[in-house]
């Protein structure tokens, strides 16, 4: 069983839901990322999502775009991100790590090499935002050979045809985008999300996590009632941006924010 599947199975047997924070690797600089990952685990996170910086993050709102820009000042590369995961794994073998990023850096490294190196580093799943399943076959083959779970997005506008195609290739969990638009916008309509999730469950037994627009404890609690987990990205990154010159403060703020979410989710 993959680390992701095991984590979701354990959560389910305890009646718990997954808290999945996202940070961009190397934001605001590369020296903080591994400590931040450990801190997020201490604050009660179940899975860590790490963004691979890209110069043209087309699906992201301004908060994550700027995180990419801060990381790219330090030339943080895909290879550097894999090294960070390797370091994280020296002291944490349980918490699943998912990489989220865009295809071009993976194309440059090469699918095979990337899949092998990611597996060796201890990466569990990869979400390549601009790679829909119909273009993903070669990368999926490389992932399968290296026991990496390919994770795909489902959107409110995805049709049943697309549900089928996406669920066929997905492993680990499905990532449901809760609203139209880019990361970090507005607030979300829990009822509409619930409706779509129950539709989706007719096509998959995979856990479904919801992201884009979850920015406070109350929304996290509401959504985690209907989903298997919540992904919180821009709201975490915003706290990094606000304290970018003070590493200790970043860790403190992110930890207390996530601890609050944890509490709200568990109180359900």
């Amino acid at each position: 069983m993959s680390r992701l599947s095991k984590r979701f199975a354990d959560l389910a047997s305890n009646g718990k839901k997954a808290l999945i924070p996202y940070v961009t690797a190397g934001d605001p600089d590369p020296t903080i990322t591994v400590s931040l990952m450990h801190a997020m685990v201490e604050a009660g996170s179940d899975i860590i999502e790490i963004g691979v910086p890209f110069s043209d993050p087309m699906a992201d709102g301004p908060v994550i775009q700027q995180a990419c820009e801060r990381a790219l000042i330090h030339n943080v590369s895909l290879s550097d991100v894999l090294d960070m995961v390797t370091t994280f794994r020296e002291t944490n073998q349980e918490t699943p790590v998912v990489l989220m990023g865009y295809l071009n850096p993976v194309e440059v490294m090469g699918y095979q090499i990337f899949a092998q190196r990611a597996a060796a580093a201890g990466v569990d799943g990869v979400l390549t935002v601009d790679l829909p399943p119909e273009e993903a076959e070669d990368l999926i083959v490389a992932f399968e050979a290296n026991k990496i779970d390919p994770i795909f997005l489902v959107s409110p506008e995805s049709t049943v045809d697309r549900f089928k195609q996406i669920t066929k290739y997905s492993r680990g969990f499905l990532y449901y985008v809760s609203l139209k638009g880019v990361t970090g916008v507005k607030s979300i309509d829990a009822e509409a999300v619930g409706h779509k999730l129950s539709e989706l469950r007719d096509y998959t037994g995979l856990p479904i996590c919801v992201g884009f627009g979850i920015n406070n404890a109350q929304t996290a609690a509401t959504i985690s009632k209907i989903a298997n987990g919540v992904v919180v990205g821009s709201a975490v990154v915003k706290r990094i941006a606000e304290n970018q010159n003070d590493q200790a403060k970043i860790i403190e703020e992110v930890k207390s924010f996530l601890a609050g979410l944890r509490q709200a989710i568990d109180a359900n």
Binding site: D56, P62, N104, V108, E134, S155
Partner: protein
């Protein structure tokens, strides 16, 4: 005659395939959030591209509003001055709004109207596509928002004002390198957020499928007309075609109807900036590598980690790190040649055409002219070269004047 025509056929396959691939290039590399609007657009385009009423309306607008067909002009004075082949110019500079861009914006705006969209968004670099989009939006009574890199807003102030006069809102983009590629990112972000009422008019043959195919189809009017005009004027096809390549829309518009005429040599000219050897240029086909950006696989200017790098060209319309996927394919199969000329060479051609023929060309088009001048000398007398004069240079006089220390 008939066998002769068949002999000359290169018999290239019809591209793209149904998933939008040109060989290994093109495709649809987009987030799931964009998939629904892209599928809606694909379906609508499939329906309307063979709808006689749609085509009739488009043709009427191209004739009465744009002023098509644009003439083909033999630049006899310049050709004589160069002492080589005859250089013919396809006069897209004479179109309404001053460039080929309007051929595409008219087509996409009519499609938007038929799809029931009320809001148009566009990205722009030089501002020509922004102006062409604002123009058609004004005419159709649609709201128009144009995304433009902050750097370009500054260097193309006249076009910014033109768009505002036309009623468009110009949004300066401050992310990334603050140029065309970032404007495109921002327009995509707007589109996913406002899909219900919004149509995104991409200005070149880039983006996810069906854009490279659709924009090409709207621009091939250039090559279809030019092919007939050259046959009528000279009794034969030209020996060579030359067009500048930013994203590649004016080039593919000229080239496409000639692709199966295998005796016609094809040259696409990229922005060579300070020179290919300096690394400061905008020539992904000459110097880049295949990768994925803005929804398609194509040649890109990138660093060793796969980050997209900034381009350099005197011409804002060529300052783009990618290129339409069909050009990537034509390069790989060897049907078209891609070359670059420097800023300085383009400027020389700009002045030459202005002084010798009384035509002020756009700096983008000046790249094609500069290469055509070299080619004319190489090919020699008796040969015919057809150049796409993609736009007029009024928008560039500030840039050129500034280089000479003059403020206008």
């Amino acid at each position: 005659m008939t066998t002769n025509v068949i002999d000359r056929q290169a018999n290239l396959p019809n591209m793209p395939d149904e998933k939008g691939h040109f060989g290994i290039y093109g495709g649809r590399f987009i987030a799931e959030t964009l998939m629904a609007p892209i599928e809606e657009l694909t379906k609508a385009y499939e329906v309307f591209k063979s709808d006689p009423a749609f085509i009739a309306e488009l043709d009427k607008d191209l004739a009465d509003y744009v002023g098509r067909p644009s003439p083909v002009y033999l630049a006899s004075h310049w050709s004589e001055h160069l002492g080589g082949a005859n250089i013919y110019l396809k006069r897209e500079d004479l179109n309404h709004t001053g460039a080929h861009k309007v051929n595409n914006t008219i087509g996409q705006a009519l499609l938007a109207k038929r799809m029931g969209k009320t809001r148009i968004i566009a990205e722009t670099g030089a501002g020509q596509h922004g102006v062409a989009s604002a123009t058609v939006a004004a005419r159709l009574g649609m709201e128009c928002v144009v995304y433009m890199g902050e750097v370009d807003v500054q260097r193309q102030a006249a076009n910014v004002y033109r768009m505002k006069l036309l009623g468009a809102k110009v949004v300066p983009v401050t992310s990334g390198s603050k140029t065309l590629k970032d404007a495109l990112n921002e327009a995509m972000r707007d589109w996913v957020t406002n899909v219900d009422n919004t149509f995104y008019i991409i200005g070149t043959v880039a983006g996810p499928h069906p854009y490279p195919e659709m924009v090409r189809d709207f621009q091939t009017v250039i090559g279809r007309e030019a092919r007939e005009q050259m046959l009528a004027k000279t009794g034969r096809l030209p020996d060579a075609l030359v067009a500048c390549v930013g994203g590649g829309s004016n080039a593919i518009g000229l080239f496409h109807p000639f692709l199966n005429d295998k005796d016609v040599e094809i040259y696409g000219v990229e922005g060579g900036g300070d020179g290919l050897e300096t690394g400061r240029h905008a020539a992904p086909l000459c110097k880049g590598k295949p990768g994925v950006l803005h929804g398609n696989r194509t040649y890109l200017m990138e660093d060793e980690n796969g980050q997209i790098i900034e381009t350099h060209s005197i011409s804002a319309g060529l300052d783009y790190p990618g290129v339409g996927p069909e050009h990537a394919w034509l390069k790989d199969i060897g049907r078209a040649n891609y070359v670059a000329v420097t800023d300085t060479e383009a400027l020389d051609a700009f002045h030459a055409l202005t002084k010798i023929e009384g035509i002020i060309p756009a700096l983008e088009s000046s790249h094609a002219l500069a290469y055509a001048a070299k080619l004319a000398v190489k090919m020699g007398k008796g040969k015919n070269i057809l150049v796409n004069l993609s736009g007029r240079g009024d928008k560039d006089i500030h840039t050129v004047a500034a280089l000479e220390g003059i403020t206008v």
